[in-house]
Subunit: 446 residues, 2 copies
């Protein structure tokens, strides 16, 4: 990680940390700028995050929803891509530390996003992985599929029920999508593959601390989503907070009356909380509770006009409404694009007495629930059921990176729709050793 | 892992260990038998091994060449699939130990295959992974792609040459295919994605201890394959044995004169030696040097007529020619099918004074070298170049498991052929932390 700095080369360097929606949009907005754009990401690929849950639930392969960042920016000659970990940044010295090496910049754009936050319980991560990267998705896929394998040969009723209980924590779009997809796997995709246990008996529980799922949507759509989930067989538990988590159980406390309940489960998935990547904190700027850097209206960091924070990692306020940009793909793309254009204009030497303020334009939001079920909100319009699902499919295909990925994803979806099966039911990665048998079991011959 | 054994149920149990070509063929041959067939594999998926190198070289995704074993056998109602590790087998007691649990059988079919063998140097495995599973393939892909990433920002000429030197050890079909594919990645697929280093300068070295590559083929085809590889830019070193291996270099000794040479390389791949999975040894039967169990003409283990070994794990002799069945897909399929039919006939109560002997029918062999280059040997016919490559593609598509996988693989190949790019260039898995910078580097600002 050492982009060389030739002093004779007069191009100012724009260092972008993060190759997600925000970082890519920023790099692309700088495509005609007379600058040396350096984009750093710890992975070599851009992930289309809205479809990550489909990799976790074995519908798509990693390559269907991800593309090498280098490939995406291959034609942008002023942009260099580096794979590495941006550890911290010293805004006064205009230097960032990447893989232990100090890298100078003229402009810094932090677009490193969020990772899973466990509300002060980092030990929960081992028992309930979240869904932020391809590795996360493959790990969650491994865990889900492994539970069905174990259940098939579990003779104890209680233990088998725990093997077949899946708890999704967090009722936002990711949680709703995960819960619906796991229910579909158990009820539709795999029953005919097993001989001893009816996998349709699996229990999928969706938990949220609010009184409704999809809090970001209109109440009608929340109700519709909940009804659809329940019709599919998902159990929705609202108004409860997780207070305990192990590889054996999830403990909930009802917010209203403090009553606790324990769900025996061998597989929990975290879709509840996020916190900002730590590089933002090294700026020394003020941050909100989730670690997002509080930015000026132009998305720069107070006191450092050449340092910007975009995407999920920023905490902004709309100058008129006072509302924060939501942590969705559109917010990331729009803020990245805004800063990229702003820097491009400055580099052209345009007067910058007023940089203007970033304003988020809500183009709508949607969440899919299952086969031919979704909810969508576009402008004032609210759609649910099959039309929403069709809309969801079209929009996600349109925005999926790369011609090749679009075709591949479409063909997987069509195949899944007509065959009711999921193509990517592969368990990869290194599983923990199964526990040794008890003494009684060791004596028994099966 | 406890298929229950109901004494009232009279069906004899056939326990098959391994869901590769041999195990699957055996299970399928038993589809009409009045038996309880139990197939155990440590993975949940069958891998189409001949295309594994394409996953390692980022052309295909795991789901393109693998299918869940359960799905493949979903319609065979007399067959139960279990995911687990078969640790050992006691042929006298008719019991095998699977995940620590004792499982009884009436017939046992070992089809566990081979793993990478390092000729008494197990410590080499960390520096030169072999290619036997999807996890292996993803690990090799990660290593190859990571070297290009590191080379892009390596300023020291010597270190960069080591980053860009790929050593493939073993000149059989897998080694030839790997070397050709890595050369194509460096020369064709990725150069336009990098800014600082010309990846076409990468050096791919193929090493074999024999005097020619593809020893199993006719000499003319060996020569042709070597010429094709060299034209593509691969360096072929013959008659040399590896005597040292680390993450920094590969040391070779020429067999003819004992002269040593050292190749500085950060990425070596093992395609040289295999040894049989250890469960065969627990039978107490005689084994050959690679650990393959020496079997009777009917593929049973001497002294245990109800225990068979098939596929790569067996060491057989053709009753007429005295030749051993080669460790290829056809050998595995034919031997698995032979034993499956034999057991099915016995279960029908047919007279078994003579079980007959297994005879391998060579349907030909082929190896691909690169874009539109391959060699093939079918009957007495020898083909090379584009016709052989077309033949290779057609045969591999025909035998690829599952309709869906065929379509997906065809579309990936067509795309790769027209676009010169590789779709699955994703680095997944957990990489080791990069080394910290030296003191000089830490002081330097890039």
């Amino acid at each position: 990680m050492n982009p060389p700095r030739d002093p004779s080369q007069a191009r100012p360097r724009v260092l972008i940390v993060g190759g997600g929606f925000a970082g890519l949009a920023c790099a692309r907005a700088l495509r005609r700028a007379r600058a040396e754009v350096v984009l750093v990401d710890r992975q070599n690929h851009h992930v289309f995050q809205p479809l990550l849950y489909q990799v976790a639930t074995a519908a798509l392969s990693p390559a269907n929803i991800a593309a090498p960042v280098r490939g995406v920016l291959s034609r942008q000659r002023n942009c260099m891509v580096a794979m590495g970990e941006a550890e911290r940044s010293d805004a006064d010295a205009c230097e960032a530390v990447i893989n232990g090496r100090r890298v100078r910049y003229d402009y810094l754009v932090l677009a490193a996003g969020m990772r899973n936050g466990y509300f002060g319980h980092p030990e929960w991560e081992a028992h309930a992985p979240g869904l932020k990267s391809l590795n996360d998705a493959l790990e969650i896929r491994r865990r889900i599929l492994t539970r069905f394998e174990a259940a098939e040969f579990e003779d104890d009723d209680e233990a088998r029920r725990a093997e077949l209980t899946f708890v999704v924590i967090g009722g936002g779009p990711t949680g709703v999508e995960m819960a619906g997809a796991i229910q579909e796997i158990a009820a539709l995709s795999i029953p005919r593959d097993f001989r001893r246990v009816d996998m349709r008996s699996a229990r999928v529980v969706l938990i949220d601390s609010n009184e409704r799922v999809l809090r970001g949507f209109h109440e009608d759509l929340s109700a519709r989503a909940q009804r659809d989930l329940e019709r599919m067989g998902v159990e929705v538990i609202l108004g409860c907070r997780v207070v305990g988590l192990s590889d054996r159980e999830v403990v909930l406390r009802r917010k209203a009356d403090g009553e606790c309940q324990t769900i025996a489960s061998r597989c929990a998935i975290w879709a509840a909380g996020l916190k900002a990547e730590s590089i933002g904190a090294s700026l020394g700027a003020e941050a909100d509770r989730a670690g997002r850097v509080i930015v000026e209206p132009d998305l720069s960091v107070p006191g450092h006009p050449n340092v910007f924070v975009v995407g999920d990692q920023m905490s902004d306020r709309d100058p008129e409404t006072g509302e924060a940009t939501p942590g969705v793909a559109q917010g990331a793309i729009q803020s990245g694009d805004f800063v990229g254009r702003l820097i491009a204009a400055e580099l052209k030497g345009k007067a910058q007495s007023d940089r203007g303020a970033f304003r988020y334009h809500d183009k709508g939001s949607m969440a899919t629930i299952g086969r031919a079920r979704a909810v969508a909100e576009i402008g004032g319009m609210r759609v649910a059921g099959f039309p929403a699902w069709l809309l969801w499919s079209v929009v996600h295909i349109l925005f999926l990176v790369g011609f090749r990925n679009k075709l591949a994803a479409i063909s997987e979806w069509v195949w899944m729709y007509v065959s009711w099966s999921r193509g990517a039911r592969l368990i990869t990665g290194t599983p923990p050793r199964p526990p040794p048998p008890s003494e009684a079991e060791a004596d028994r011959v099966y």
